[in-house]
């Protein structure tokens, strides 16, 4: 039931969304909705909405973390960034460039109006970022940990960085912009619920009820003619996963994000002409080993574990066969194929090889004796794997891992607390091993930086959400620094190749399988959904992919 079942099953919790920048200096010229044809359309788009707990709380504050998902159709950011490949789609901005590795200039679109008719100016953009500076509680993406100043000149807004951080353009791009003439009088923007939102996006609030809200088309939106739906309805989800699955299966949504078992039978076959799904990988799930503890800090021991695991079986058990085993390079295939280092054997895939695993364990000083893998001090290797009890795919994967490692003589036990305890144990560094998500931002720098940069490796007992396995490698830091500072595609590729190789060889995280992104669509009313043949963004309605997709739709 409820949040006990993970609403976003296997969504790769770490599937970062806000951040990324592929060809950092290149800006896509794709105008949103340019494939939307000429039809100004009509009709209602129904999207599986937020989880009601048990009812929805009216909150359209785009800067809070408690806002309703539809807020992202009311407040458009400068640009949206695809989590598949880091591609940009411009909205409020027409483009950006780095005048130096620490100076980013965004050009704001001319002639844009707020939904109340007031013109939108660069001053609104500067106001929004200043608001984040004033209220740390709103700065969930840590803008002001990187930026030192934001200023406007003409139609340009200039961001000055503390240190070179080219990929950070994506984080800035996806910050919602709010109108100064309204928000300057808001007493406390952190708790403000903004029940009469005035935004710059393609939709406005139509009506709100405790279990459903409706957005209607904003005729003042600069690209309004290309927006197909005349209204968007968001019925609240239940907190019970199985109820949501029944809901989705019954076919009442145009777009839902839901793990469904045996989807061909439980969804597609119910109306094969219009019922479709696209389950691309959205991140990588791996086994995090605590690198402050022996023997996990021994790379040979980690190699042994990696070789002892049958990733295909783990993937099959964990995600119902929807997702394949992952490349241990940290690159998500096929999404990020263009980044994959050609020097990696077999695309960085590792297959089970027990003799090789035993050889690696032997190098670490561990030998099989009477069915037990015994270390130099004569005791059996043990491991407790922790994962949140409601992340069922992680639980299933850990169960299979414990079986497989048991066969090479490691005594594995599982610990399945509620998320809060999982979070505390992992972030404070007091765990042995933990299931966790890696990557998924669509931008390799952000994936590797958050997971491997030693500046995040806090001492044990000091919580850190990034690099909680506490990896420290100067060569990795060096490659990350290069990647952060360069705007040259070839230098970028080289540095990424180095990171992939280090990931593959040193196994700071034993990557296992891809976490799915469970996009379920109906083409009854609208077409233009992201798909394997047109993977313009992930099918995730809970971040700015919502805006990208909805502005991409065409009336069926």
């Amino acid at each position: 039931m409820r949040s006990l079942s993970r609403t976003r099953a296997a969504a790769v919790s770490a599937c970062a969304v806000a951040v990324l920048a592929a060809g950092a200096s290149a800006c896509s010229n794709n105008s949103p909705g340019n494939s939307a044809g000429s039809s100004s359309g009509g009709g209602t788009l129904t999207i599986q909405g937020d989880a009601g707990n048990p009812t929805l709380v009216e909150n359209f504050n785009p800067l809070s973390s408690a806002e309703l998902g539809g807020t992202r159709l009311i407040y458009a950011p400068l640009e949206t960034v695809s989590s598949v490949n880091g591609g940009y789609t411009p909205f409020l901005a027409t483009g950006y460039k780095f005048t130096s590795p620490t100076t980013l200039v965004y050009t704001i679109r001319q002639g844009v109006q707020w939904s109340d008719g007031t013109p939108l100016t660069p001053a609104d953009v500067v106001f929004t970022f200043d608001l984040l500076k004033k209220h740390t509680a709103l700065d969930a993406n840590g803008i002001w940990s990187q930026v030192t100043a934001v200023s406007a000149a003409g139609s340009n807004v200039t961001f000055t960085f503390k240190a070179p951080d080219v990929p950070f353009a994506a984080t800035i791009a996806q910050t919602p912009i709010v109108p100064k003439h309204i928000w300057s009088t808001v007493a406390n923007p952190v708790t403000f619920t903004n029940t009469h939102p005035v935004g710059d996006g393609p939709f406005m609030l139509g009506s709100f009820a405790p279990t459903q809200y409706t957005l209607t088309k904003n005729t003042k939106y600069w690209g309004a003619s290309k927006i197909a739906p005349s209204s968007v309805v968001f019925p609240a989800q239940s907190t019970s996963q199985s109820t949501n699955q029944l809901d989705v299966s019954s076919g009442q949504f145009d777009w839902a994000y839901q793990f469904l078992p045996d989807i061909q039978r439980t969804y597609v076959n119910r109306d094969p002409a219009t019922n479709h799904y696209w389950f691309p990988p959205g991140g990588t799930i791996g086994l995090y080993l605590n690198l402050t503890q022996a023997p996990y800090n021994n790379v040979n021991f980690r190699q042994g574990i990696s070789l002892a695991l049958n990733r295909a079986t783990i993937a099959k058990k964990a995600v119902n066969g929807y997702m394949p085993a992952a490349s241990t390079s940290g690159i998500i295939l096929p999404n990020e194929q263009q980044w994959l280092s050609p020097s990696l054997p077999d695309q960085g895939m590792v297959s089970q090889n027990i003799p090789a695993a035993m050889a690696a364990f032997a190098k670490a000083g561990y030998k099989l004796s009477g069915g037990k893998l015994v270390g130099p001090n004569g005791t059996q290797a043990t491991m407790t794997i922790v994962q949140p009890n409601n992340f069922t795919d992680w639980v299933a994967a850990a169960t299979e891992i414990s079986t497989e490692l048991g066969k090479v003589g490691i005594k594995v036990s599982l610990d399945e607390p509620q998320y809060a305890q999982y979070s505390q144990t992992t972030q404070s560094g007091t765990f042995n091993a933990a299931m966790g998500g890696f990557g998924g931002t669509g931008i390799p720098y952000n994936d590797y930086n958050l997971a491997l940069n030693s500046t995040y490796a806090a001492p044990v007992h000091t919580p850190t959400a990034n690099n909680f396995e506490r990896y420290s490698n100067p060569a990795v830091n060096q490659a990350l620094a290069t990647l952060a500072a360069t705007t040259s595609p070839s230098a970028e590729k080289q540095a990424t190749d180095r990171l992939e190789t280090m990931m593959y060889q040193n196994l700071p995280i034993v990557l296992l399988y891809y976490g799915g992104s469970w996009g379920i669509f109906s083409t009854k009313h609208f077409t233009g959904w992201p798909s394997a043949s047109d993977p313009y963004t992930l099918p995730t309605p809970y971040n700015y992919a919502l805006l990208t997709v909805v502005t991409h739709l065409v009336k069926a």
Binding site: M1, R2, S3, T7, R8, A11, V12, S13, A14, C15, V17, A18, N53, P54, T55, V57, E58, S65, A66, T136, A137, L138, D139, A140, N141, G142, V190, T191, T193, S207, A209, P210, T211, Q212, V233, A236, S238, S240, T243, L246, D247, S250, P388, N390, P417, Q418, Y419, A420, Q421, S423, Q424, G440, T441, Y456, T464, A465, N466, T540, Y542, N543
Partner: protein, 329 residues
């Protein structure tokens, strides 16, 4: 009178202890509200980064203060009947959040309990009167069987067959999506329609307690001398059953009523979960999983208070029902 006074004093001390216990309990749970909030975001697909953690810490603030200060705040929030601000619903006072959910649970639990009480008691009278006959056996065995159904399990089965498969009832919620609660005839009808399955689930699984209680009381009362005497004096058996036996046997069942009502509110957690019903049971589970201290405290308090008051009333009633208790205390 001394008995009553002592009960009142005891009630007040119990109240204090319960309120304090309710404060301590949530803080026993491992992991902080910040960790729980990260979990909520992680489940919603938000990347978990240090920046996110810092923002949440800035938002929640409170738990960094000392336990004693939190205890003071807690009493203050009780005294003002606002119960502070919940982490899950930062824009509302907890009192408001609970105020929205409580009527649904009171309605659901109230009606089903009254219904189960009436049907169960009637069945109990029937079985008791026809004791040791086929009617008695079928009623008691039937009630035993249905009473053993785990409510969440029955809920799942009913939900799947009646709602999903045949579409006779809605899959989730307390009312049609898109409507706002009001007192119009159509809304009330809709709400009733949505409450049929959760109500049925609760009623079926709680019926047996009333049946057994009433049946046994009936049999005991029928064995009393005055009933035998009345029957021997030529009163018709139906009159005896209704006027003498049932009326006297009913009293203990009534005292159990108060206790059951309080317990049921705590027990609707799973049923409300299965049917996504917008009541406090659902809210309570949410509060527990989110480590939402203010919300959890207030909900525990509401439930605990209702139980406490029920027991207090039962205690007082008991004195009237059984004089032996009064004299021996």
């Amino acid at each position: 009178m001394g008995y009553i006074l002592r009960k009142v004093v005891l009630f007040i001390i119990t109240l204090w202890a319960a309120i304090t216990l309710v404060f301590i309990l949530p803080r026993l749970m491992p992991g902080s509200p910040v960790d729980a909030a990260l979990g909520k975001l992680a489940s919603a697909g938000v990347p978990i980064t240090n920046a996110e953690r810092a923002a949440i810490e800035a938002q929640l603030g409170a738990p960094h203060t000392s336990l004693l200060a939190q205890y003071g705040d807690y009493w203050n929030s009780i005294a003002t009947l606002r119960f502070g601000t919940s982490y899950s619903f930062p824009s509302q006072t907890v009192a408001h959040t609970i105020g929205v959910a409580l009527p649904w649970t009171v309605f659901l639990v109230g009606t089903t309990t009254v219904l189960a009480f009436i049907i169960g008691t009637l069945l109990g009278v029937y079985a008791g009167w026809h004791r040791a006959k086929l009617a008695d056996s079928s009623v008691t065995i039937g009630a035993t069987f249905f009473g053993a159904f785990p409510p969440f399990w029955l809920g799942l089965l009913l939900l799947y067959w009646l709602s999903f498969k045949y579409g006779w009832f809605p899959i989730k919620g307390g009312y049609d999506p898109g409507t706002t609660p009001n007192w119009s005839l159509s809304f009330v009808g809709d709400a009733l329609y949505h409450s049929v399955l959760p109500g049925l689930t609760l009623a079926i699984t709680t019926l047996s307690g009333w049946v057994f209680g009433m049946r046994n009381n009936m049999i005991n009362t029928l064995g009393e001398d005055y009933v035998t005497f009345a029957e021997a004096n030529g009163l018709r058996s139906r009159t005896v059953a209704m006027l003498y036996a049932a009326r006297n046997a009913l009293l203990p069942n009534v005292t159990a009523f108060g206790l059951a009502l309080g317990a049921l509110i705590g027990g609707t957690v799973l049923v409300e979960g299965v049917y996504s019903y917008p009541g406090v049971g659902n809210l309570l589970y949410l509060a527990v999983t989110n480590h939402d201290f203010p919300l959890m405290q207030a909900l525990f308090l509401v439930i605990t208070l209702s139980m406490l008051v029920a027991i207090f009333i039962v205690d007082l009633l008991y004195v009237r029902l059984d004089p032996r208790v009064r004299s021996s205390t």
